[in-house]
Symmetry: C2
Subunit: 338 residues, 2 copies
């Protein structure tokens, strides 16, 4: 029934369990002849070491826990992919658990990780830092992603959303757009709030009247915003959405209504999802896969005592200029609602 254990191998090879362990783990204090006997027996029995038991006695699991919220779009995927790439490169496994917005559930998820992982990667922008502090098993090294605020002793990695948003709005201004509407992200979302901040800062800097429409990161919100813009009498020549999906929804709705992009209205997003490239959507690239990989790398360094600088890290997103925000020309002006 059950698989062969190390004692079965020992019995068959006529040695002790200690020798089996030593032989299979490549220690050098085993006679070559003994090692061969062990390996032979192990092969015959199809023996595979029990990683759980191993990590219990070694107090090392060679696994890292990943707790992510219900990210929509490509976000979740890209993040996990980046993490997995780096983890498997360094011989670690990923233990995955996504938590829904409920913070109790998050606590449970975090607790069930203890004893199976060596460290934790936590992305929980919507959970209060002190709640998080409570929920993370204290002795578990961990890195926070996109967190609200730093936690003592836990390095964080985050994107500079505000700088990214500023860069994009500055780009719009530089290309001749003056009546820029922002489609916001959901309330309470930190990334969204910071992006809005960046937008407002640039508006203030150039004395442009800010205008913010509500949104929730979904495509439909972008469509709704487009309808609102078209129905409104306020003049609009550019839209900066808090993420790409809303920008895409907006783009489609505008074009369906016969509006030319960018001649009549420019559109920009945030994230640089793969789709953006195909739609020639200008956006701000947050390389989420790289962030995942970076987080894993830092966590492993930390676990293996190789981390010199235990500070938080801020990644600057990159402006990606494409056709939907091309410089304004004489041919395309004033077409949108006066």
């Amino acid at each position: 029934m059950g698989e062969a254990t190390i004692r079965d191998v020992a019995r068959r090879a006529e040695v002790s369990v200690a020798s089996v362990s030593r032989a299979l783990n490549g220690l050098d204090n085993v006679r070559a002849e003994t090692r061969e006997k062990v390996i032979k027996a192990a092969n015959e029995l199809g023996y595979v070491p029990h990683a759980g038991a191993r990590s219990l006695s070694l107090a090392r699991a060679h696994a890292i826990g990943v707790v992510l919220p219900d990210l929509h779009g490509e976000f979740f995927s890209e993040c996990v992919r980046g993490m997995d790439r780096e983890a498997s490169r360094r011989g670690y496994l990923l233990l995955l658990s996504n938590m829904h917005d409920d913070s109790d559930q998050a606590a449970v998820a975090l607790r069930t990780m203890r004893g199976r992982v060596d460290g934790l990667l936590v992305m929980a922008p919507h959970i209060a830092p002190e709640t998080l502090e409570q929920a993370i098993p204290p002795a578990l090294p961990s890195i926070l992603l996109n967190s609200h605020a730093d936690l003592p002793g836990r390095p964080a990695l985050r994107f500079d959303n505000r700088a990214g948003a500023e860069a994009m709005v500055e780009h719009l201004v530089a290309n001749g757009y003056r009546h820029i509407v922002h489609i916001a992200g959901p309330d309470g979302n930190l990334d969204a709030a910071q992006r809005a901040e960046g937008y407002l800062a640039v508006c203030a800097r150039h004395h442009l009247p800010p205008r913010i429409l509500p949104g929730n990161f979904n495509e439909e919100a972008g469509e709704a915003a487009a309808r609102a813009i078209l129905a409104s009498t306020t003049r609009t020549d550019a839209v900066f959405a808090a993420n790409d999906m809303m920008a895409i929804g907006c783009l489609h709705a505008l074009r369906d209504a016969g509006t030319r992009v960018p001649e009549d209205i420019a559109v920009a997003g945030f994230d640089d999802v793969p789709l953006a490239r195909y739609l020639s959507l200008s956006t701000v690239r947050v390389n989420i896969a790289e962030m995942g990989a970076r987080a894993v790398a830092r966590l492993i360094d930390l676990l293996e005592g190789k981390d010199m600088h235990r500070a938080s890290e801020i990644l600057t997103p990159e402006l990606v200029m494409r056709a939907t925000t091309a410089p304004r020309t004489a041919s395309g002006n004033g077409a949108a609602h006066a």
Copy 2:
């Protein structure tokens, strides 16, 4: 230093470890007063049970291992997302390990799972079944995804690629296309081979001359195929690519060359990646997230002894008709190379 253990809690609550275990696990043979003492002590110590030790003694890890190849595009992501959704719904964690094409590495990945998971989900279309059979720890229940062939005792889940391809090609024929080219997937890829089969079957059924161009699932291959089609003297009025990315590459290249789609040449893909919708690309939907979820569901049923039908399962993909394969009209005929 180390976290509190159950013995620390026992000491502090002045009871035995057995009582602590019973109290915290909600067994009913504990006096209420004792339970309270235990819970109090546990809280004071910030005790979190060691899941590794727990699963060792229970012989149950409440985790399932997932081994995926380096899937490109949205594939990997969607698959993991579907799995995670279902797993977390049922209280399981996912242990992730992607394996590169190397089969030795795959074996290692599979072995390190033993003892930390209760079952395995393996997607390894490129690995020979017998090699796989060797590599999977025998007593570990597992489900194969998109596998080449069934393994005894291991249910498999796969898409009926052939039926999907047939449906699409029939759809093209029904819409008036007669000179249909197929852009193939990479050699040795099972999905690709089955899709080509479906294409050939329909061609034979309608006495259409088949024509297959090489491809590798990448966008560039689609572009190359488009160039080949445009340069060729053979008449072509539709392209059926073995996956969406090639179809998209082809679509772009055709349009860049001034070819109208679908008036001059229709284009169809396979997979229904999110992009396809935006490009109005007709395709065959393989709901990979659902497959992942389904696989998890079945594996857990199997683990918990709830699986009645232990047979393999074949999921039928769904035809998604969009603008790039609209019915042929009088206006758009004969434009492509005579």
